[in-house]
Symmetry: C3
Subunit: 134 residues, 3 copies
């Protein structure tokens, strides 16, 4: 493929899924992929400037053992991994307009990683390859 694009719909706002999304984004960017991220619902809420560095919980299935392994392993916060992916590749973060309205948010309420807000139809204009929902 020439100029492959990964379109990522981020819906979930737990630290384990956001970490998985950040690792996939970094891996794709490192391999020359463009990554287009659409932030919805609980993932959008997790990108609020006043919340992004707080704990966002993990999936219920993690259980106490899984949560402990995740916290103990530490490493970088998912927001830092996303930031690095943005430095090495073409990675865009777009807040879903409908979710912004639902939470009563403006773009300036979000972390500076987020580039802009757009509607779902605009998101599909840029789709050219996989569409992955996390």
């Amino acid at each position: 493929m020439d100029d492959p694009t990964l379109s990522l719909v981020l819906f979930s706002g737990t630290d384990d899924k956001l970490n998985a999304a950040a690792v996939l984004t970094a891996g794709a960017a490192a391999m020359g992929w463009k990554v287009n991220i659409f932030l919805q619902y609980w993932a959008l809420d997790a990108f609020r400037a006043d919340k992004i560095h707080k704990e966002h919980g993990v999936a219920p299935e993690a259980g106490p053992g899984g949560t402990e392994a995740l916290r103990r392993h530490g490493g970088q916060h998912w927001s830092e991994i996303f930031g690095q992916a943005k430095e090495i590749g073409e990675v865009g973060f777009h807040a879903c307009s409908l979710s912004m309205e639902m939470f009563g948010l403006k773009v300036e309420d979000l972390d500076p990683l987020v580039d802009d807000q757009e509607g779902v139809a605009s998101f599909f204009v840029d789709v050219d390859g996989p569409v992955t929902f996390i």
Copy 2:
């Protein structure tokens, strides 16, 4: 891409994910995409004629604040958004045969949005582009 197709595997049956799926379907249909939806497990259960308009809960991570924002925001029910997507574009709903058997359901037990039931191999025959699991 000519005639792009979005293949959507709907697994989850909570109102937040079904709403996200409906919005993505409507956005794709508005941009000229064909959308093929495969209903499995809890999503299939949510499409039962006697359940589709009831509350189906939200992801545990929503918390009381998120649930309240979702309910307060209101707007259209996801089944209405799916219905409009079907009017403006080529959107098909196929119930997974294995899940139908698991729940002991027949096509007439489901909401009229659902076109038919099919096996997973038939679903893959029509895949031509992204496969998104929600």
Copy 3:
């Protein structure tokens, strides 16, 4: 498409999602697709040799009724369905290096279904078509 490839990122480790993933893999393999599976987080944990045949729970939304329908329906365990998919098609299981490190696992701790471990960048080298996150 010639030689289509389904790239599957398995993140979730509950029996309902693993069963859905196994059915999709078997369906894709039956239709001549190559399937590349990347095991992360709770899905990786579920592939540990000493855990794969134990119960891994279901999504919270299943409720008591859904859980009962799933257990009663029975049928084959998802690990058997994955095994059959591997016999009929080209299906590879790759453990995510970062998740292996997080859990302190070696490849020999995993079920023999798993072929090897690799980093996320290597996973993207083989992506050629849909990328589905479960």
